[in-house]
Symmetry: C2
C-alpha cells in the first residue's frame, strides 16, 4: 500500500534536496478565470520551471540522492520529452553521466535539445517500447540507475513538493487541478496536499485521446490504450504494466477525473496566451481546459491549477494563433 511507502517527511526531504536545482515558481491569480468561475483561481507556473517543466523536481530528487557508487555508474532514462530534458540537465549539473534512449521516430530537434543538455543520446528501436527494451538491456549491462518517468517514490516525492508550495502560497486552497498522465505529478501533489489538508478536492485531468490512467482506474488494473495524436502529447503513453505506486495512489487520493477534447485544449492554450500572455504546452493546460469547459463536478472557492510545462513546438503555437480572428 502506497501510504506505507511514502511519508510527508519524504516530501520535505525532497524539498530540501532539490531547492538548489529548481525554481520556486510563482502562483499567480487569474482575474479572467475568477470572472468565469466566481472563485479565486490561481495558476502554478511550472511552465517557468528549469528545463521548462515540473519534471526537474522528481529527476533532481532522484539523481542528487544516489550513492557515490551509483553516481559513478550513471543514469539512464527513456524519454524524448520533458523527462529526458530534466534527467539530462540535472545529471550534467551534478556530474553524473546520463544516457537517454529514444526511438528512431523522434524528431531531430528534440534529440538535439536533449544532447545540448549533456546526455548521451541513443537512438534505437522503431517505437518507445522498443527503446525501452534496449534501455533495460543497457541498464543491466552497465549497472546504471533507471530513472523512471513516474512510477518511483523519489520521483513522486520530488513532484510532491509542488503541493507544499501550493499550500504555503495559498493556504485557503480547497480545490487542486492537476494534469494526469502516468501519475507521478498527480500522486505527488495529491499525496502532499491531502496529507496536510485532507478536505481539499483533488481533480486529475487527461485528454480524451488516450487517457491511460483514467482507463486503468476504471478497470481497476493497468490497461493498454491506443496512442493517438494529441495536443497534450506530454500526457500520452501508457502506464508501466508492473505499476507499483501511481495507480494505487491516484486511486486513493484523487477525488475526480475529467477528460478534455482537442478543441477544449486548443481553446485553453489560446486563453492562456491571449488573456495571460503565458505560453504553455497542450499537456500543461488541461486543467484550464477543464475549468473553461465547465467539466469539473465539484469546484470550491479557492482553486489552484498546475500549469506543468511550456515546451510547445512553435508550429503548434502558430496554428493556435492563426486559427483566431484577432482585433486590430
Amino acid at each position: 500500500m502506497s501510504t506505507e511507502n511514502l511519508s510527508l517527511g519524504n516530501i520535505y526531504q525532497a524539498k530540501k534536496r532539490i531547492t538548489p536545482y529548481i525554481r520556486r515558481t510563482p502562483l499567480v491569480e487569474s482575474q479572467d478565470l475568477k470572472t468565469i468561475t466566481d472563485a479565486n483561481v490561481h495558476l502554478k507556473l511550472e511552465n517557468l520551471q528549469v528545463t521548462g517543466s515540473f519534471k526537474i523536481r522528481g529527476a533532481s530528487n532522484k539523481i542528487s540522492n544516489l550513492s557515490a557508487e551509483d553516481k559513478e555508474r550513471g543514469v539512464i532514462a527513456v524519454s524524448s520529452g520533458n523527462h529526458g530534458r530534466a534527467v539530462s540537465y540535472i545529471a550534467s549539473l551534478v556530474g553524473v553521466n546520463s544516457t537517454i534512449c529514444v526511438a528512431k521516430t523522434v524528431p531531430d530537434n528534440k534529440c538535439q535539445a536533449i544532447r545540448a543538455l549533456g546526455a548521451e543520446l541513443v537512438i534505437v528501436g522503431e517505437n518507445a517500447d522498443e527503446a525501452m527494451v534496449y534501455a533495460d538491456k543497457l541498464q543491466m549491462e552497465r549497472g546504471m540507475t533507471m530513472v523512471h518517468p513516474f512510477d518511483d517514490l523519489e520521483i513522486i516525492a520530488g513532484q510532491g513538493t509542488i503541493g507544499l508550495e501550493l499550500i504555503e502560497d495559498f493556504p485557503e486552497i480547497d480545490t487542486v487541478i492537476v494534469p494526469l498522465s502516468g501519475g507521478g505529478l498527480m500522486s505527488g501533489v495529491a499525496f502532499s496536499v491531502k496529507s496536510i489538508m485532507p478536505s481539499v478536492h483533488i481533480v486529475g485531468v487527461s485528454m480524451e485521446r488516450g487517457p491511460a490512467m483514467v482507463a486503468s482506474l476504471k478497470a481497476g488494473r493497468v490497461v493498454n490504450i491506443i496512442e493517438e495524436p494529441t495536443l497534450a502529447n506530454a500526457l500520452a503513453g501508457g502506464l508501466n504494466k508492473d505499476n507499483k505506486y501511481t495507480l494505487p495512489m491516484v486511486k486513493q487520493y484523487v477525488d475526480e477525473t475529467v477528460l478534455v477534447s482537442e478543441k477544449e485544449i486548443a481553446e485553453a492554450l489560446w486563453f492562456c496566451l491571449n488573456k495571460h500572455h503565458i505560453v504553455v504546452e497542450g499537456g500543461a493546460v488541461v486543467g484550464v481546459a477543464a475549468l473553461l469547459s465547465k467539466k469539473v463536478n465539484r469546484l470550491g472557492k479557492n482553486i489552484a491549477i498546475v500549469l506543468s510545462g511550456s515546451n510547445i513546438p512553435m508550429v503548434v503555437l502558430k496554428k493556435i494563433i492563426n486559427e483566431r480572428e484577432l482585433a486590430k
Copy 2:
C-alpha cells in the same frame, strides 16, 4: 538636484507599501543568452507583474500613500496603455475613484481593458496632448491628484523597488539593462542599484524610432521628438517639458544608452518566445535586443535585464511568428 529629493530609504518605504499589491516577480537565468554573451544573464520577469507591467509598482506607491482627503477626491491620469491599466486597477483595489483620459484615436479594446479594471474613462481630444490639456482642466476642477506616468518621486521610488529585488536575488550583479522611455523605471532602478552598489554598470535602451530621453540627454534639455510607429510603442512619447526629476536622474545614474532598430526588437521578441516561451511586448524586450545585437559597449559577467511588460497585441505576436521559418 535629484539625490537631495530621493533616498534609499524612500525605496524601502515604497517596497513595504506596495508589497500587498504587487508580485515579487522571478529573476530567471537565460542559458541561451549565456551561450551568446559568455556571461551570466538573468531576466527580471516584470511581464508577470499584476496588470502585465512594472507600472503597478509606482502607481500603487503613489495612490496607496495619498491622504484620506486626496483619496476621497480621486486620481486622474492620461494613458491608454500600461500606466492607465495600473492606475485603474490599484485605485479600484484601494477604493479610490480614478479617471483615465485618452484621445479619440485610442482603439476600443484598450479603452475596454481600462474600464474593466474600474476607472471612469474619458475619451477626449484628437491626440494625447489634447487629452492631457483636458485632464489638467478636470484635475483642477475636481481637485483630483494627477498620477504622472514617470516624473514623480513616488512613482520613481515604486519602480525603484525592482532594483532592490535585483540585488537581493543576484548580489553578484555588475550590469543592469533597462528599457528607457520617460525615465521613471530607469531612474528608479538606476538610483536604487547605484545607491547600494555604485560600481554596477547601468544601461538604458530605447528604440531608434523616437527616443525622446536619449535626444534630450544629448541636447542637455527636454527636446521634442516626432512620434513614429514602433514595436516598442510602450516606450513612445515625449518627456514633459517641465521635467523635474527623470532627465537629471537618468543623466546622473545611467552609464550608457543604446538604440535598437525595429528589426532587432522583432528578433528579440522571437528569441524570448522561441527560446524561453515568454511573451513580452516590444517595449519590454529592448534590453534583450541590445544584447543580441551586441550593441552594449561595456558588458560585465553578471547581467540582469528587465523585461518590463507583456501587453503585446495578439496581431503583433501573430506577425512575429508568421514571419519565421519553423521546424516541424
